[in-house]
Symmetry: C2
Subunit: 325 residues, 2 copies
Amino acid sequence: MAKDKLIGVDLGGTTIKFAILTAEGEIQQKWSIKTNILDEGSHIVPDIIDSINHHLDLYQLDKDRIIGIGMGTPGTVDTENGTVRAAFNLNWKETQNVREQIEAGTGLPLTMDNDANAAALGEQWRGAGNNQPDVAFITLGTGVGGGLINDGKLIHGVAGAGGEVGHMIVEPGGYLCTCGNYGCLEQYASATGVVHLAQDFAEAYAGNSQLKAMVDNGEEVTSKIVFDLAKDGDYLANEVVDKVAYYLGLASANISNILNPSSVVIGGGVSAAGKFLLDRVAKNFSQFAFKATRDVTEVKLAELGNDAGAYGAASLARNSDRTIA
Amino acid sequence: MAKDKLIGVDLGGTTIKFAILTAEGEIQQKWSIKTNILDEGSHIVPDIIDSINHHLDLYQLDKDRIIGIGMGTPGTVDTENGTVRAAFNLNWKETQNVREQIEAGTGLPLTMDNDANAAALGEQWRGAGNNQPDVAFITLGTGVGGGLINDGKLIHGVAGAGGEVGHMIVEPGGYLCTCGNYGCLEQYASATGVVHLAQDFAEAYAGNSQLKAMVDNGEEVTSKIVFDLAKDGDYLANEVVDKVAYYLGLASANISNILNPSSVVIGGGVSAAGKFLLDRVAKNFSQFAFKATRDVTEVKLAELGNDAGAYGAASLARNSDRTIA
Protein backbone atom coordinates (compact mmCIF):
# COMPACT_ATOMS: atom_id res chain seq x y z
CA MET A 1 0.00 0.00 0.00
CA ALA A 2 1.40 3.39 -0.96
CA LYS A 3 2.33 5.64 1.92
CA ASP A 4 0.57 8.95 1.32
CA LYS A 5 -0.43 10.45 4.69
CA LEU A 6 1.34 12.35 7.44
CA ILE A 7 0.33 12.80 11.07
CA GLY A 8 1.25 16.07 12.77
CA VAL A 9 1.07 16.47 16.56
CA ASP A 10 1.40 19.84 18.27
CA LEU A 11 1.90 19.15 21.98
CA GLY A 12 1.19 22.16 24.19
CA GLY A 13 0.71 22.83 27.87
CA THR A 14 -3.09 23.07 27.63
CA THR A 15 -4.03 21.34 24.36
CA ILE A 16 -2.64 18.63 22.10
CA LYS A 17 -3.53 19.29 18.46
CA PHE A 18 -3.55 16.53 15.86
CA ALA A 19 -3.82 16.62 12.09
CA ILE A 20 -3.78 14.08 9.28
CA LEU A 21 -2.35 15.54 6.10
CA THR A 22 -1.58 14.44 2.57
CA ALA A 23 2.09 14.15 1.65
CA GLU A 24 1.70 17.54 -0.07
CA GLY A 25 0.53 19.15 3.17
CA GLU A 26 -3.24 19.43 2.83
CA ILE A 27 -4.94 18.93 6.19
CA GLN A 28 -7.64 16.29 5.79
CA GLN A 29 -8.63 15.79 9.43
CA LYS A 30 -7.85 17.66 12.58
CA TRP A 31 -8.82 17.28 16.20
CA SER A 32 -7.50 18.11 19.64
CA ILE A 33 -7.54 16.83 23.21
CA LYS A 34 -6.80 18.50 26.53
CA THR A 35 -3.31 18.07 27.94
CA ASN A 36 -3.56 16.14 31.20
CA ILE A 37 -0.51 17.23 33.17
CA LEU A 38 -1.54 15.40 36.37
CA ASP A 39 0.71 12.72 37.89
CA GLU A 40 3.89 14.33 36.58
CA GLY A 41 2.50 14.42 33.07
CA SER A 42 2.50 10.61 32.89
CA HIS A 43 -0.82 10.51 30.99
CA ILE A 44 0.33 12.69 28.13
CA VAL A 45 2.16 10.16 25.98
CA PRO A 46 -0.45 7.38 26.48
CA ASP A 47 -3.19 9.89 25.62
CA ILE A 48 -1.38 10.81 22.39
CA ILE A 49 -1.02 7.14 21.44
CA ASP A 50 -4.68 6.36 22.19
CA SER A 51 -5.91 9.40 20.32
CA ILE A 52 -3.91 8.58 17.19
CA ASN A 53 -4.92 4.92 17.22
CA HIS A 54 -8.56 5.81 17.87
CA HIS A 55 -8.75 8.36 15.07
CA LEU A 56 -7.03 6.13 12.52
CA ASP A 57 -9.69 3.52 13.33
CA LEU A 58 -12.42 6.13 13.15
CA TYR A 59 -11.32 7.33 9.71
CA GLN A 60 -10.60 3.72 8.67
CA LEU A 61 -7.11 4.78 7.69
CA ASP A 62 -4.70 1.86 7.37
CA LYS A 63 -1.41 2.40 9.20
CA ASP A 64 0.44 1.22 6.10
CA ARG A 65 -0.60 4.46 4.45
CA ILE A 66 1.08 6.63 7.12
CA ILE A 67 4.52 7.97 6.16
CA GLY A 68 5.14 8.86 9.79
CA ILE A 69 4.22 10.98 12.80
CA GLY A 70 5.88 14.32 13.44
CA MET A 71 5.59 16.12 16.75
CA GLY A 72 6.45 19.53 18.13
CA THR A 73 6.86 19.65 21.91
CA PRO A 74 7.84 22.11 24.62
CA GLY A 75 11.16 21.54 26.37
CA THR A 76 14.57 20.55 25.14
CA VAL A 77 14.37 17.86 22.50
CA ASP A 78 17.14 15.38 21.84
CA THR A 79 16.29 14.71 18.19
CA GLU A 80 18.91 11.95 17.99
CA ASN A 81 17.62 9.92 20.91
CA GLY A 82 13.98 10.95 20.74
CA THR A 83 13.81 12.23 24.30
CA VAL A 84 12.45 15.40 25.90
CA ARG A 85 13.64 17.17 29.04
CA ALA A 86 12.90 20.42 30.85
CA ALA A 87 9.28 20.58 29.61
CA PHE A 88 8.05 22.28 32.76
CA ASN A 89 4.62 23.25 31.45
CA LEU A 90 3.94 19.53 30.85
CA ASN A 91 4.94 18.75 34.44
CA TRP A 92 7.68 16.46 33.11
CA LYS A 93 10.38 16.43 35.76
CA GLU A 94 12.53 13.65 34.31
CA THR A 95 13.76 13.08 30.78
CA GLN A 96 10.99 11.32 28.84
CA ASN A 97 11.55 8.57 26.26
CA VAL A 98 8.82 9.98 24.10
CA ARG A 99 9.81 8.47 20.77
CA GLU A 100 10.28 4.95 22.11
CA GLN A 101 6.82 4.99 23.71
CA ILE A 102 4.92 6.51 20.81
CA GLU A 103 6.59 4.26 18.24
CA ALA A 104 5.82 1.19 20.36
CA GLY A 105 2.24 2.32 20.96
CA THR A 106 1.38 3.22 17.37
CA GLY A 107 3.77 1.12 15.31
CA LEU A 108 4.62 4.30 13.37
CA PRO A 109 7.95 6.17 13.11
CA LEU A 110 8.10 9.43 15.10
CA THR A 111 10.22 12.49 14.38
CA MET A 112 10.28 15.29 16.96
CA ASP A 113 11.52 18.80 17.42
CA ASN A 114 10.74 21.67 19.78
CA ASP A 115 7.49 23.55 19.27
CA ALA A 116 9.03 26.77 17.94
CA ASN A 117 11.07 24.83 15.38
CA ALA A 118 7.97 22.91 14.34
CA ALA A 119 5.97 26.12 13.90
CA ALA A 120 8.85 27.56 11.87
CA LEU A 121 8.79 24.55 9.54
CA GLY A 122 5.02 24.86 9.22
CA GLU A 123 5.20 28.49 8.13
CA GLN A 124 8.11 27.72 5.82
CA TRP A 125 6.35 24.83 4.11
CA ARG A 126 2.72 25.85 3.94
CA GLY A 127 2.56 29.43 5.24
CA ALA A 128 4.24 32.77 4.68
CA GLY A 129 7.54 31.10 3.76
CA ASN A 130 6.10 29.90 0.43
CA ASN A 131 8.03 26.65 0.63
CA GLN A 132 11.32 28.49 0.03
CA PRO A 133 14.44 26.81 1.47
CA ASP A 134 15.73 29.77 3.55
CA VAL A 135 13.26 31.16 6.08
CA ALA A 136 13.59 32.75 9.53
CA PHE A 137 10.65 32.56 11.93
CA ILE A 138 10.11 34.67 15.04
CA THR A 139 7.17 33.97 17.33
CA LEU A 140 6.03 36.63 19.79
CA GLY A 141 4.09 35.19 22.71
CA THR A 142 4.61 35.36 26.47
CA GLY A 143 8.23 34.79 25.41
CA VAL A 144 9.98 35.14 22.08
CA GLY A 145 10.99 31.99 20.24
CA GLY A 146 11.85 31.06 16.73
CA GLY A 147 13.25 28.68 14.22
CA LEU A 148 15.73 29.15 11.41
CA ILE A 149 15.58 27.12 8.23
CA ASN A 150 18.63 27.04 6.00
CA ASP A 151 18.61 25.18 2.71
CA GLY A 152 15.40 23.41 3.75
CA LYS A 153 16.68 22.24 7.13
CA LEU A 154 16.30 23.54 10.67
CA ILE A 155 19.43 24.99 12.22
CA HIS A 156 19.97 23.03 15.45
CA GLY A 157 23.57 23.80 16.30
CA VAL A 158 25.73 21.70 18.56
CA ALA A 159 23.40 21.58 21.58
CA GLY A 160 20.03 22.05 19.89
CA ALA A 161 19.87 25.73 20.89
CA GLY A 162 19.89 27.04 17.30
CA GLY A 163 17.08 29.48 16.54
CA GLU A 164 16.93 31.04 20.01
CA VAL A 165 16.20 34.42 18.49
CA GLY A 166 14.51 35.60 21.69
CA HIS A 167 17.89 35.71 23.37
CA MET A 168 19.68 37.81 20.81
CA ILE A 169 20.98 40.88 22.61
CA VAL A 170 19.29 43.95 21.12
CA GLU A 171 19.97 46.39 23.96
CA PRO A 172 23.26 45.71 25.75
CA GLY A 173 22.78 46.50 29.44
CA GLY A 174 18.99 46.66 28.95
CA TYR A 175 16.15 44.83 30.71
CA LEU A 176 17.12 41.79 32.77
CA CYS A 177 15.96 38.60 31.06
CA THR A 178 14.80 35.38 32.74
CA CYS A 179 17.90 33.80 31.14
CA GLY A 180 20.14 35.97 33.33
CA ASN A 181 21.41 38.24 30.56
CA TYR A 182 20.47 41.86 29.94
CA GLY A 183 18.80 43.23 26.84
CA CYS A 184 17.44 40.09 25.13
CA LEU A 185 14.85 40.61 22.37
CA GLU A 186 12.37 38.63 24.47
CA GLN A 187 12.30 41.44 27.04
CA TYR A 188 11.11 43.95 24.44
CA ALA A 189 9.00 42.09 21.90
CA SER A 190 7.09 39.53 23.97
CA ALA A 191 3.67 40.34 25.44
CA THR A 192 5.32 40.98 28.81
CA GLY A 193 8.07 43.00 27.16
CA VAL A 194 5.55 45.32 25.51
CA VAL A 195 3.89 45.90 28.89
CA HIS A 196 7.26 46.51 30.55
CA LEU A 197 8.10 49.15 27.94
CA ALA A 198 4.65 50.72 28.39
CA GLN A 199 5.17 51.04 32.14
CA ASP A 200 8.62 52.57 31.77
CA PHE A 201 7.50 54.96 29.05
CA ALA A 202 4.46 56.00 31.13
CA GLU A 203 6.66 56.84 34.09
CA ALA A 204 8.92 59.05 32.02
CA TYR A 205 6.11 60.81 30.12
CA ALA A 206 4.27 63.90 31.39
CA GLY A 207 1.88 64.52 28.49
CA ASN A 208 -1.64 63.39 27.73
CA SER A 209 -2.14 59.71 27.09
CA GLN A 210 -4.80 57.17 27.91
CA LEU A 211 -2.07 54.55 28.21
CA LYS A 212 -0.29 56.69 30.77
CA ALA A 213 -3.56 57.22 32.67
CA MET A 214 -4.17 53.46 32.78
CA VAL A 215 -0.67 52.74 34.05
CA ASP A 216 -0.88 55.56 36.61
CA ASN A 217 -4.27 54.27 37.83
CA GLY A 218 -2.85 50.80 38.28
CA GLU A 219 -5.23 49.36 35.66
CA GLU A 220 -4.20 46.12 33.98
CA VAL A 221 -2.36 46.84 30.75
CA THR A 222 -1.83 44.07 28.19
CA SER A 223 0.13 44.15 24.96
CA LYS A 224 -3.19 44.03 23.09
CA ILE A 225 -4.35 47.17 24.93
CA VAL A 226 -1.10 48.93 24.01
CA PHE A 227 -1.54 48.10 20.32
CA ASP A 228 -5.24 49.03 20.34
CA LEU A 229 -4.50 52.39 21.96
CA ALA A 230 -1.73 53.00 19.44
CA LYS A 231 -4.11 52.28 16.57
CA ASP A 232 -6.50 54.81 18.15
CA GLY A 233 -3.75 57.41 18.01
CA ASP A 234 -2.54 57.43 21.63
CA TYR A 235 0.85 59.16 21.52
CA LEU A 236 2.58 57.15 24.22
CA ALA A 237 1.24 53.83 22.97
CA ASN A 238 2.68 54.68 19.56
CA GLU A 239 6.05 55.41 21.13
CA VAL A 240 5.95 51.94 22.69
CA VAL A 241 4.99 50.28 19.40
CA ASP A 242 7.80 52.18 17.65
CA LYS A 243 10.27 50.85 20.19
CA VAL A 244 9.01 47.27 19.85
CA ALA A 245 9.23 47.61 16.05
CA TYR A 246 12.75 49.02 16.34
CA TYR A 247 13.99 45.99 18.29
CA LEU A 248 12.17 43.53 16.03
CA GLY A 249 13.53 45.30 12.94
CA LEU A 250 17.06 45.26 14.34
CA ALA A 251 16.89 41.57 15.25
CA SER A 252 15.28 40.61 11.92
CA ALA A 253 17.99 42.53 10.07
CA ASN A 254 20.85 40.97 12.01
CA ILE A 255 19.41 37.50 11.48
CA SER A 256 19.14 38.30 7.77
CA ASN A 257 22.58 39.90 7.58
CA ILE A 258 24.11 36.56 8.45
CA LEU A 259 21.55 34.06 7.06
CA ASN A 260 20.20 35.88 3.97
CA PRO A 261 16.73 34.22 4.05
CA SER A 262 13.95 34.87 1.53
CA SER A 263 11.67 35.88 4.38
CA VAL A 264 11.53 36.67 8.08
CA VAL A 265 8.12 35.46 9.22
CA ILE A 266 6.68 36.97 12.40
CA GLY A 267 3.98 35.05 14.26
CA GLY A 268 2.57 34.48 17.72
CA GLY A 269 0.04 36.41 19.80
CA VAL A 270 1.73 39.81 19.64
CA SER A 271 1.80 39.61 15.84
CA ALA A 272 -2.02 39.77 15.93
CA ALA A 273 -1.38 43.52 15.80
CA GLY A 274 -0.93 42.74 12.10
CA LYS A 275 0.12 45.16 9.39
CA PHE A 276 0.10 48.00 11.93
CA LEU A 277 3.13 46.43 13.61
CA LEU A 278 4.60 44.81 10.51
CA ASP A 279 4.99 48.03 8.52
CA ARG A 280 7.02 49.59 11.31
CA VAL A 281 9.16 46.48 11.71
CA ALA A 282 9.81 46.44 7.96
CA LYS A 283 10.87 50.10 8.05
CA ASN A 284 13.43 49.39 10.77
CA PHE A 285 14.51 46.22 8.98
CA SER A 286 15.29 48.24 5.85
CA GLN A 287 17.44 50.58 7.86
CA PHE A 288 19.51 47.84 9.49
CA ALA A 289 19.70 45.21 6.74
CA PHE A 290 22.74 44.89 4.50
CA LYS A 291 21.83 45.65 0.88
CA ALA A 292 22.39 42.08 -0.36
CA THR A 293 19.74 40.85 2.06
CA ARG A 294 17.48 43.94 2.09
CA ASP A 295 16.93 43.42 -1.65
CA VAL A 296 15.78 39.81 -1.28
CA THR A 297 14.44 39.32 2.25
CA GLU A 298 10.80 40.11 2.96
CA VAL A 299 9.48 40.66 6.48
CA LYS A 300 6.06 39.01 6.63
CA LEU A 301 3.28 38.04 9.00
CA ALA A 302 2.72 34.37 9.74
CA GLU A 303 -0.27 32.88 7.92
CA LEU A 304 -1.13 29.61 9.60
CA GLY A 305 -2.09 30.77 13.10
CA ASN A 306 -2.62 27.88 15.49
CA ASP A 307 -2.17 25.31 12.73
CA ALA A 308 1.52 26.15 12.14
CA GLY A 309 2.62 23.60 14.74
CA ALA A 310 0.67 20.71 13.21
CA TYR A 311 1.79 21.56 9.67
CA GLY A 312 5.38 21.81 10.84
CA ALA A 313 5.15 18.56 12.79
CA ALA A 314 3.92 16.86 9.62
CA SER A 315 6.83 18.42 7.76
CA LEU A 316 9.21 16.82 10.26
CA ALA A 317 7.72 13.43 9.39
CA ARG A 318 7.82 14.20 5.68
CA ASN A 319 11.54 15.04 5.72
CA SER A 320 12.52 12.18 7.99
CA ASP A 321 14.07 8.95 6.80
CA ARG A 322 13.12 7.24 10.04
CA THR A 323 11.43 3.86 9.71
CA ILE A 324 10.14 1.21 12.08
CA ALA A 325 11.79 -2.16 11.78
CA MET B 1 43.05 4.58 -10.56
CA ALA B 2 41.81 5.59 -7.12
CA LYS B 3 41.04 9.29 -6.68
CA ASP B 4 42.94 10.42 -3.60
CA LYS B 5 44.11 14.01 -4.09
CA LEU B 6 42.51 17.44 -3.86
CA ILE B 7 43.63 20.71 -5.40
CA GLY B 8 42.92 23.91 -3.47
CA VAL B 9 43.21 27.34 -5.10
CA ASP B 10 43.07 30.57 -3.11
CA LEU B 11 42.62 33.38 -5.62
CA GLY B 12 43.53 36.79 -4.21
CA GLY B 13 44.12 40.27 -5.58
CA THR B 14 47.93 40.02 -5.37
CA THR B 15 48.70 36.28 -5.17
CA ILE B 16 47.13 33.01 -6.27
CA LYS B 17 47.97 30.21 -3.83
CA PHE B 18 47.78 26.56 -4.82
CA ALA B 19 47.99 23.38 -2.80
CA ILE B 20 47.74 19.67 -3.49
CA LEU B 21 46.31 17.78 -0.53
CA THR B 22 45.41 14.23 0.37
CA ALA B 23 41.70 13.47 0.71
CA GLU B 24 42.22 13.75 4.47
CA GLY B 25 43.54 17.28 4.14
CA GLU B 26 47.31 16.97 4.46
CA ILE B 27 49.04 19.50 2.24
CA GLN B 28 51.62 17.68 0.08
CA GLN B 29 52.68 20.45 -2.25
CA LYS B 30 52.06 24.15 -2.29
CA TRP B 31 53.10 27.00 -4.53
CA SER B 32 51.91 30.41 -5.57
CA ILE B 33 51.96 32.80 -8.52
CA LYS B 34 51.37 36.53 -8.81
CA THR B 35 47.91 37.66 -9.81
CA ASN B 36 48.14 39.44 -13.16
CA ILE B 37 45.18 41.82 -13.19
CA LEU B 38 46.22 43.54 -16.42
CA ASP B 39 43.88 43.55 -19.45
CA GLU B 40 40.73 43.43 -17.30
CA GLY B 41 42.04 40.42 -15.42
CA SER B 42 41.85 38.28 -18.56
CA HIS B 43 45.12 36.47 -17.77
CA ILE B 44 44.02 35.20 -14.38
CA VAL B 45 42.02 32.14 -15.36
CA PRO B 46 44.49 31.00 -18.09
CA ASP B 47 47.33 31.46 -15.56
CA ILE B 48 45.49 29.25 -13.04
CA ILE B 49 44.93 26.56 -15.68
CA ASP B 50 48.57 26.63 -16.84
CA SER B 51 49.89 26.55 -13.30
CA ILE B 52 47.79 23.55 -12.31
CA ASN B 53 48.63 21.63 -15.48
CA HIS B 54 52.30 22.47 -15.17
CA HIS B 55 52.56 21.40 -11.54
CA LEU B 56 50.67 18.15 -12.07
CA ASP B 57 53.22 17.37 -14.79
CA LEU B 58 56.07 18.45 -12.56
CA TYR B 59 54.93 16.19 -9.71
CA GLN B 60 54.02 13.44 -12.21
CA LEU B 61 50.57 13.30 -10.71
CA ASP B 62 48.01 11.63 -12.97
CA LYS B 63 44.80 13.62 -13.35
CA ASP B 64 42.83 10.45 -12.69
CA ARG B 65 43.97 10.69 -9.09
CA ILE B 66 42.46 14.17 -8.59
CA ILE B 67 39.08 14.22 -6.84
CA GLY B 68 38.60 17.80 -7.94
CA ILE B 69 39.70 21.41 -7.75
CA GLY B 70 38.22 23.77 -5.16
CA MET B 71 38.67 27.52 -5.36
CA GLY B 72 38.00 30.51 -3.14
CA THR B 73 37.71 33.81 -4.99
CA PRO B 74 36.92 37.46 -4.28
CA GLY B 75 33.61 38.80 -5.58
CA THR B 76 30.11 37.39 -5.67
CA VAL B 77 30.12 33.73 -6.61
CA ASP B 78 27.22 32.00 -8.28
CA THR B 79 27.96 28.50 -7.00
CA GLU B 80 25.22 27.00 -9.17
CA ASN B 81 26.46 28.39 -12.47
CA GLY B 82 30.13 28.62 -11.61
CA THR B 83 30.45 32.32 -12.37
CA VAL B 84 32.00 35.26 -10.52
CA ARG B 85 30.98 38.90 -10.64
CA ALA B 86 31.92 42.11 -8.83
CA ALA B 87 35.50 40.97 -8.15
CA PHE B 88 36.88 44.48 -8.38
CA ASN B 89 40.33 43.71 -6.99
CA LEU B 90 40.80 41.24 -9.86
CA ASN B 91 39.85 43.94 -12.37
CA TRP B 92 36.97 41.74 -13.56
CA LYS B 93 34.33 44.11 -14.88
CA GLU B 94 32.04 41.51 -16.42
CA THR B 95 30.69 38.27 -15.02
CA GLN B 96 33.31 35.58 -15.60
CA ASN B 97 32.57 31.97 -16.58
CA VAL B 98 35.33 30.73 -14.34
CA ARG B 99 34.18 27.16 -13.87
CA GLU B 100 33.56 26.50 -17.55
CA GLN B 101 37.05 27.74 -18.46
CA ILE B 102 38.96 25.96 -15.70
CA GLU B 103 37.13 22.68 -16.23
CA ALA B 104 37.79 22.86 -19.97
CA GLY B 105 41.43 23.78 -19.45
CA THR B 106 42.25 21.15 -16.82
CA GLY B 107 39.71 18.42 -17.46
CA LEU B 108 38.98 18.44 -13.73
CA PRO B 109 35.75 19.35 -11.89
CA LEU B 110 35.81 22.75 -10.15
CA THR B 111 33.82 23.83 -7.09
CA MET B 112 33.95 27.49 -6.04
CA ASP B 113 32.91 29.77 -3.24
CA ASN B 114 33.89 33.23 -2.05
CA ASP B 115 37.20 33.63 -0.27
CA ALA B 116 35.79 34.24 3.22
CA ASN B 117 33.60 31.15 2.96
CA ALA B 118 36.57 29.11 1.78
CA ALA B 119 38.71 30.31 4.69
CA ALA B 120 35.84 29.46 7.07
CA LEU B 121 35.70 25.91 5.69
CA GLY B 122 39.47 25.61 6.01
CA GLU B 123 39.44 26.58 9.69
CA GLN B 124 36.44 24.35 10.32
CA TRP B 125 38.01 21.31 8.68
CA ARG B 126 41.70 21.53 9.53
CA GLY B 127 42.05 24.48 11.92
CA ALA B 128 40.51 25.78 15.12
CA GLY B 129 37.10 24.31 14.24
CA ASN B 130 38.42 20.78 14.91
CA ASN B 131 36.34 19.35 12.08
CA GLN B 132 33.13 19.92 14.05
CA PRO B 133 29.97 20.43 11.96
CA ASP B 134 28.88 23.80 13.43
CA VAL B 135 31.48 26.56 13.26
CA ALA B 136 31.30 30.34 12.84
CA PHE B 137 34.29 32.17 11.36
CA ILE B 138 35.01 35.89 11.53
CA THR B 139 37.97 37.37 9.69
CA LEU B 140 39.28 40.79 10.66
CA GLY B 141 41.23 42.48 7.88
CA THR B 142 40.82 45.78 6.08
CA GLY B 143 37.16 44.75 6.23
CA VAL B 144 35.34 42.15 8.32
CA GLY B 145 34.14 39.00 6.58
CA GLY B 146 33.15 35.56 7.63
CA GLY B 147 31.57 32.24 6.93
CA LEU B 148 29.04 30.20 8.86
CA ILE B 149 29.02 26.43 8.75
CA ASN B 150 25.91 24.61 9.92
CA ASP B 151 25.77 20.84 10.02
CA GLY B 152 28.91 20.66 7.90
CA LYS B 153 27.66 23.01 5.18
CA LEU B 154 28.19 26.69 4.45
CA ILE B 155 25.17 28.91 4.97
CA HIS B 156 24.64 30.68 1.63
CA GLY B 157 21.09 31.97 1.93
CA VAL B 158 18.89 32.91 -0.96
CA ALA B 159 21.30 35.34 -2.68
CA GLY B 160 24.63 33.98 -1.49
CA ALA B 161 25.00 36.73 1.13
CA GLY B 162 24.95 34.33 4.09
CA GLY B 163 27.84 34.82 6.51
CA GLU B 164 28.14 38.59 6.04
CA VAL B 165 28.99 38.99 9.71
CA GLY B 166 30.83 42.25 9.01
CA HIS B 167 27.49 43.91 8.33
CA MET B 168 25.74 42.87 11.50
CA ILE B 169 24.63 46.07 13.23
CA VAL B 170 26.41 46.29 16.58
CA GLU B 171 25.92 50.01 17.22
CA PRO B 172 22.64 51.34 15.80
CA GLY B 173 23.26 54.87 14.56
CA GLY B 174 27.02 54.36 14.86
CA TYR B 175 29.81 54.81 12.32
CA LEU B 176 28.77 55.05 8.67
CA CYS B 177 29.75 51.90 6.78
CA THR B 178 30.79 51.61 3.14
CA CYS B 179 27.59 49.58 2.69
CA GLY B 180 25.51 52.67 3.47
CA ASN B 181 24.26 51.52 6.88
CA TYR B 182 25.36 52.81 10.27
CA GLY B 183 27.00 50.78 13.01
CA CYS B 184 28.19 47.65 11.16
CA LEU B 185 30.72 45.43 12.96
CA GLU B 186 33.17 46.12 10.13
CA GLN B 187 33.42 49.76 11.20
CA TYR B 188 34.66 48.77 14.68
CA ALA B 189 36.61 45.54 14.32
CA SER B 190 38.46 45.89 11.01
CA ALA B 191 41.94 47.43 10.87
CA THR B 192 40.42 50.71 9.72
CA GLY B 193 37.71 50.46 12.37
CA VAL B 194 40.30 50.13 15.14
CA VAL B 195 42.07 53.24 13.87
CA HIS B 196 38.77 55.13 13.61
CA LEU B 197 37.98 54.30 17.24
CA ALA B 198 41.50 55.33 18.27
CA GLN B 199 41.09 58.72 16.62
CA ASP B 200 37.71 59.36 18.20
CA PHE B 201 38.86 58.22 21.64
CA ALA B 202 41.98 60.38 21.40
CA GLU B 203 39.90 63.45 20.63
CA ALA B 204 37.68 62.91 23.66
CA TYR B 205 40.51 62.06 26.08
CA ALA B 206 42.50 64.63 28.02
CA GLY B 207 44.85 62.37 30.01
CA ASN B 208 48.30 60.99 29.34
CA SER B 209 48.62 58.52 26.50
CA GLN B 210 51.18 57.81 23.83
CA LEU B 211 48.37 56.85 21.50
CA LYS B 212 46.75 60.24 22.05
CA ALA B 213 50.07 61.97 21.45
CA MET B 214 50.52 60.12 18.16
CA VAL B 215 47.04 60.98 16.97
CA ASP B 216 47.41 64.61 18.05
CA ASN B 217 50.77 64.85 16.24
CA GLY B 218 49.21 63.50 13.08
CA GLU B 219 51.47 60.42 13.11
CA GLU B 220 50.28 57.37 11.23
CA VAL B 221 48.39 55.06 13.56
CA THR B 222 47.68 51.47 12.53
CA SER B 223 45.65 48.81 14.31
CA LYS B 224 48.92 47.02 15.09
CA ILE B 225 50.26 50.15 16.80
CA VAL B 226 47.05 50.42 18.87
CA PHE B 227 47.37 46.82 20.05
CA ASP B 228 51.10 47.16 20.73
CA LEU B 229 50.55 50.30 22.79
CA ALA B 230 47.73 48.56 24.70
CA LYS B 231 50.04 45.63 25.49
CA ASP B 232 52.56 48.17 26.79
CA GLY B 233 49.91 49.53 29.16
CA ASP B 234 48.83 52.70 27.35
CA TYR B 235 45.50 53.64 28.96
CA LEU B 236 43.74 54.99 25.90
CA ALA B 237 44.92 52.15 23.66
CA ASN B 238 43.43 49.74 26.19
CA GLU B 239 40.14 51.59 26.07
CA VAL B 240 40.13 51.15 22.29
CA VAL B 241 40.93 47.44 22.55
CA ASP B 242 38.16 47.04 25.14
CA LYS B 243 35.70 48.65 22.74
CA VAL B 244 36.79 46.45 19.83
CA ALA B 245 36.48 43.39 22.08
CA TYR B 246 33.04 44.52 23.23
CA TYR B 247 31.73 44.69 19.66
CA LEU B 248 33.37 41.40 18.68
CA GLY B 249 32.01 39.73 21.82
CA LEU B 250 28.52 41.07 21.16
CA ALA B 251 28.55 39.94 17.52
CA SER B 252 30.03 36.54 18.39
CA ALA B 253 27.36 36.06 21.04
CA ASN B 254 24.48 37.05 18.77
CA ILE B 255 25.76 34.72 16.05
CA SER B 256 25.97 31.96 18.65
CA ASN B 257 22.60 32.78 20.19
CA ILE B 258 20.94 31.85 16.93
CA LEU B 259 23.35 29.27 15.45
CA ASN B 260 24.71 27.51 18.55
CA PRO B 261 28.08 26.56 17.02
CA SER B 262 30.82 24.63 18.80
CA SER B 263 33.23 27.48 18.13
CA VAL B 264 33.49 31.04 16.89
CA VAL B 265 36.88 31.24 15.17
CA ILE B 266 38.48 34.67 14.80
CA GLY B 267 41.12 35.14 12.12
CA GLY B 268 42.60 37.76 9.81
CA GLY B 269 45.24 40.41 10.32
CA VAL B 270 43.73 42.12 13.36
CA SER B 271 43.55 38.76 15.15
CA ALA B 272 47.37 38.74 15.14
CA ALA B 273 46.90 40.58 18.46
CA GLY B 274 46.32 37.04 19.69
CA LYS B 275 45.31 36.02 23.18
CA PHE B 276 45.53 39.65 24.31
CA LEU B 277 42.48 40.42 22.18
CA LEU B 278 40.86 36.99 22.42
CA ASP B 279 40.56 36.97 26.22
CA ARG B 280 38.67 40.24 26.17
CA VAL B 281 36.41 39.09 23.35
CA ALA B 282 35.66 35.89 25.27
CA LYS B 283 34.75 37.90 28.39
CA ASN B 284 32.24 39.98 26.44
CA PHE B 285 30.99 36.87 24.68
CA SER B 286 30.21 35.26 28.04
CA GLN B 287 28.21 38.28 29.06
CA PHE B 288 26.06 38.36 25.94
CA ALA B 289 25.68 34.67 25.10
CA PHE B 290 22.57 32.72 26.07
CA LYS B 291 23.43 29.97 28.56
CA ALA B 292 22.68 27.11 26.15
CA THR B 293 25.34 28.41 23.80
CA ARG B 294 27.73 29.93 26.36
CA ASP B 295 28.16 26.43 27.82
CA VAL B 296 29.16 24.85 24.53
CA THR B 297 30.57 27.55 22.25
CA GLU B 298 34.26 28.40 22.45
CA VAL B 299 35.69 31.64 21.08
CA LYS B 300 39.03 30.77 19.49
CA LEU B 301 41.83 32.15 17.38
CA ALA B 302 42.24 30.87 13.83
CA GLU B 303 45.10 28.42 13.41
CA LEU B 304 45.85 28.12 9.70
CA GLY B 305 46.95 31.66 8.86
CA ASN B 306 47.40 32.19 5.12
CA ASP B 307 46.77 28.53 4.37
CA ALA B 308 43.12 28.62 5.49
CA GLY B 309 41.94 29.56 2.00
CA ALA B 310 43.73 26.68 0.26
CA TYR B 311 42.56 24.15 2.86
CA GLY B 312 39.01 25.41 2.57
CA ALA B 313 39.13 25.41 -1.21
CA ALA B 314 40.20 21.77 -1.07
CA SER B 315 37.32 21.12 1.32
CA LEU B 316 34.93 22.52 -1.28
CA ALA B 317 36.23 19.96 -3.77
CA ARG B 318 36.08 17.20 -1.18
CA ASN B 319 32.41 17.83 -0.37
CA SER B 320 31.33 18.32 -3.96
CA ASP B 321 29.62 15.70 -6.06
CA ARG B 322 30.58 17.52 -9.24
CA THR B 323 32.09 15.38 -11.99
CA ILE B 324 33.29 15.97 -15.53
CA ALA B 325 31.45 14.05 -18.23
